[in-house]
Amino acid sequence: MASTKAKPRKTAKQSESELGPDDLPSQAAPADEGSQAAPPADEPSSARDEGEAKPVDVKPADDAADDDATKDSAADDSAAEDEAAEGSVAASSADDSSTDEEPSDSTADDSAADEDAADEAESAPAKAEPKKAEAKEAKPKKEEAKPPVKAKADHGGHGGHHGADGAGGGGADHGPAGENIRLGEAGGTLLKVGAGLAVVGLGGAAALGASMNDGFTQFFHSYLVAFWWGLTITLGALFFVLVQHLTKARWSPVVRRVAEILASNSVAFALLALVIIVPVMLGNTALYDWNDPEVVAKSHLIHHKVGYLNTTFFLIRWVIYFAIWIGFGVTLLKRSVAQDASGDPSISKKNFALSAPGMLLFGLSITFASIDTIMSLEAEWFSTMFGVYIFAGAQLSFHCVLALSLFFLQGTGRLTKSVSVHHFHDIGKMMFAFVVFWAYIAFSQFMLIWYADIPEETVWFKSRFEDGWQTVSIIQLVGHFVIPFFGLVSRHVKRHKKALAFWAVYLLAMHYIDLYWLIMPSFDGKQAPWHAMDLLALIGVAGVMIANFGRVASGINLRPTKDPRLAKSLAFENF
């Protein structure tokens, strides 16, 4: 028994090397090193079974421990390995006095590992009966055991627990048995519905725009709002994925794939962006004054910015932005999908390494993209906070879409076992956090400009605090902060699906109004020019996102099946 299971443990060890989970032996060593060395042989089965078969059925204590994964840096790997080695070897050598920095630290470092050891110990207490002799044997056993277990893993895991591979494509699913993790037919439906919405929405908006005879000015503004609404969600998804890799988060793997798919919408947005970029290249001035040589000649301030605000550089920048967003978004999705097939844990490490530069480039690209297309609508105005403001909205709206996507998938019988109320609770916390963060940034930006009262800055708020825009500004304050703050503060709401879904929809609407408030005053400073085109463009962009989601998701799993941290994510509990 122990020997058959030994191998998965080995696999698990490799795969989870960065989690350091299995480096158990020396951990618990205080008591009796021998006893510690033994469990390794049994661990995989026990840990896995526990995690997978009844994901929620793990002591709360564990996830508290789990979550330090977030900071569990790569550095621990080597330590972990040392330990593993130490564990099996040193188990016999009683005196392993680690006096110098490294080894001693590594022992303590892997607190993450500890609780795995504990897991094992619990599920197989009897087997773990400490005897040094056994400990010595543990290692050889593991090696022997390799072949059979490998075969077993290929056939769908331990004792048929992981039956989802039929649907999973590419071998065993390490997630709960019998869960539907494929979009299947629905993918095609989403594609069709989305495409239909896109055609109706964008086509309708364009047709209306043409009928207005205003040089598409209203259309471009309506479109820009909708475009940014979708783009912020997409970029929020990309940031989320980068952060999860970078922090090696353990709570999120079950929801990460959905985020990865959402992030890959950047491909569609590269096409949608053409509607903005091409006219600018052709000298259209419906959106941007700085593209009008006459205005530039008259305005000293805008003239000053020509080095940055010119069509060539504009194009170059947008090519770079999309290269970054598509490059990182698609690469991370592809790698994640590849891991479903190969189960190769080194992919997680590579993603970790890739996410660090990804984060830097993300920060710069979202900042300058927002300056280019939103801030420069009123080309004379400026605020150093602007990129952060857009980032806050991106994160907020993404988490809303993440929750809604998961509700949709669960409502259609997918991801029903892996994604639990605990995950929704965390997503709800993030929504709440970004409601507050958005308010913090929005208030700071406003208050500082209001207080200093410098005309070249206040002009931007002036147009938003007069005439019809006053109402929208108040809606921003109350609707984007006060109401959702009290709405989401309760734990009950975050764990109640319908309530959370309501707030997600509500906040997405508020996010739209936020962008509307940023963009539209440059079109009509007197009043909020609500128009059917706004709605049509929004429907169109949302349709594109839905269609692309269906297209991308139909061929792949809706959650990772062999992510090294999957078991942790399944077992995640929240309070």
């Binding site: 002591k59 564990d62 470092d109 619990e122």
Partner: protein, 456 residues
């Protein structure tokens, strides 16, 4: 956190449960040994001498007046406010570790939170002194508070300086509460281990009758969680309000909207650097390497890398918008920073804050004690210079070239700055000597979860 290593350290084959005893022993013996290590005496002698210099400088200042500083027209704020912002910033790491990391379920924080919270409080004490002595009539600092009085005189509520009084006051209060409440179970442990009546009485008094019953623990955990949730906004608010002191003005180089998050990131950055500076020697001299491990240090270095990069982003945005905005004075302020008479301060800041921490991209450097110690000190220097650059450079050359000036610190400026470190380290050393440096109960809880939970 504390595991096999603790045992190995003492070469005692213990039962697993006894690891708890080992944790208690390791932490308590620091406060219980009749004599601390020699290094402590040396450090205390140095620190307390410097502290004496600090109070002597302040005494001289009160006697003679603000003129003993280099503050001049137009640089009315100089070392005083620089030091204030610097110390408040240092104080951010504690709350971040105890509140924010708690909410993010980062339980590695238990090894360092007590320590960092203590540091926070001492830093806030240092910070609070500066506005007090800078007001010119240091015997009237209570005028900063809205106390009803016969003169019917009130502070200016519309001034960010007044908001500062409340922000820092709240922060200090909550930090102390958080620190003290977290320490109660550990104080009770010290009480129970006391051999002398005096110790038993003092620790007994401050442990407030803690008996460790499950009801007490239940309430304690609840209270801790609530305090963490309440303290989290403070991590953002305090330094945001401090940044308002500058950003609400119209002074070029001060008025920029990114200041609040940028100051917060900078504060966390500097705070963590200070924690590393303190933790490295403390774990060495007090034998706490098993509790404050390389992993803790490495994680702190990663946080420094992240926040340092955010600060770098803010520097960059300021520069970009200074050009993009096209406001002449603003553009000049930044050119002046980089190439004016204070360029040396600017480049010191940039090197220490932005370039230095980039070494932490590499695991080798993140895990190297000498490297992190040096970089952490650099970061502290850099963060002090950041405030100096913002405050002094901007004031020294504002709108009217006719009123430009060049601030030169006097010896009293320097002794006051250096002296504040004396106060800080003195308090810290006393803390190390008499209070539990590591949150024993919390470390045990983690230890329990990791090792023992499943046996029961």
């Amino acid at each position: 956190m504390t595991t096999a290593a603790d045992v190995k350290q003492f070469h005692t084959p213990l039962e697993a449960e006894n690891a708890f005893a080992q944790i208690t022993e390791n932490v308590c013996r620091i406060a219980e040994t009749p004599k601390p290590p020699k290094a402590w005496y040396i450090a205390f002698a140095i620190a307390s001498s410097i502290m004496v210099m600090f109070f002597a400088s302040i005494g001289y200042l009160v006697w003679e007046g603000i003129g003993v500083w280099g503050n001049m027209n137009p640089v009315y704020w100089a070392f005083d406010i620089t030091n204030f912002v610097f110390w408040v910033g240092i104080g951010h790491a504690g709350t971040l570790i105890s509140a924010v990391l708690y909410l993010f379920r980062q339980d590695w924080r238990t090894g360092i939170n007590r320590f960092a919270e203590a540091m926070t409080i001492f830093a806030v004490i240092c910070a609070a002194i500066f506005p007090g002595i800078h007001i010119g009539r240091p015997w009237l600092p209570y005028w900063m508070f809205p106390i009803p009085n016969q003169m019917d005189m009130w502070p200016q509520f519309r001034s960010p300086l007044e908001w500062d009084v409340f922000a820092v006051g709240t922060y200090a209060t909550v930090s102390i509460l958080f620190w003290y409440m977290g320490m109660i179970p550990d104080l009770a442990t010290l009480r129970d281990r006391s051999r002398s009546t005096a110790r038993r009485l003092v620790y007994g008094l401050f442990s407030m009758g803690w008996r460790g019953s499950s009801r007490q623990w239940h309430r304690y955990e609840k209270a801790y969680q609530l305090l963490a949730a309440l303290a989290t906004p403070l991590v953002l608010s305090v330094h945001s309000v401090v940044s308002f002191d500058f950003a609400t003005s119209q002074v070029p180089g001060w008025h920029t909207t990114i200041f609040p998050p940028y100051f917060v990131a900078g504060a966390i950055f500097g705070g963590f650097a200070m924690v590393v500076v303190l933790a490295v020697p403390a774990r060495q001299f007090f034998g706490l390497k098993r509790m404050i491990t390389m992993r803790h240090l490495e994680n702190m270095n990663i946080i420094m890398l992240v926040t340092g990069t955010v600060v770098g982003y803010a520097y960059g945005m300021e520069f970009f918008i200074a050009w993009y905005g096209g406001v002449q004075e603003e553009g000049f302020a930044f050119i002046n920073r980089a190439f004016g008479p204070y360029a040396w301060a600017y480049w010191t800041m940039l090197t220490c804050n932005v370039l230095g921490p980039q070494l932490f991209w590499f695991k080798r450097f993140r895990r190297s004690i000498p490297v992190m110690f040096v970089i952490a000190i650099f970061v502290n220097v850099g963060m002090w210079f950041e405030r100096f650059v913002i405050i002094v450079t901007s004031l020294s050359r504002d709108f009217l070239p006719g009123s430009w000036g060049y601030f030169v610190p006097t010896p009293i400026d320097l002794t006051t700055l250096i002296g504040s470190f004396g106060l800080f380290f003195t308090l810290f050393l006393l803390f190390c000597r008499f209070l539990p440096m590591v949150a024993m109960a919390e470390v045990k809880a983690i230890h329990y979860n990791h090792h023992m939970h499943h046996h029961h």
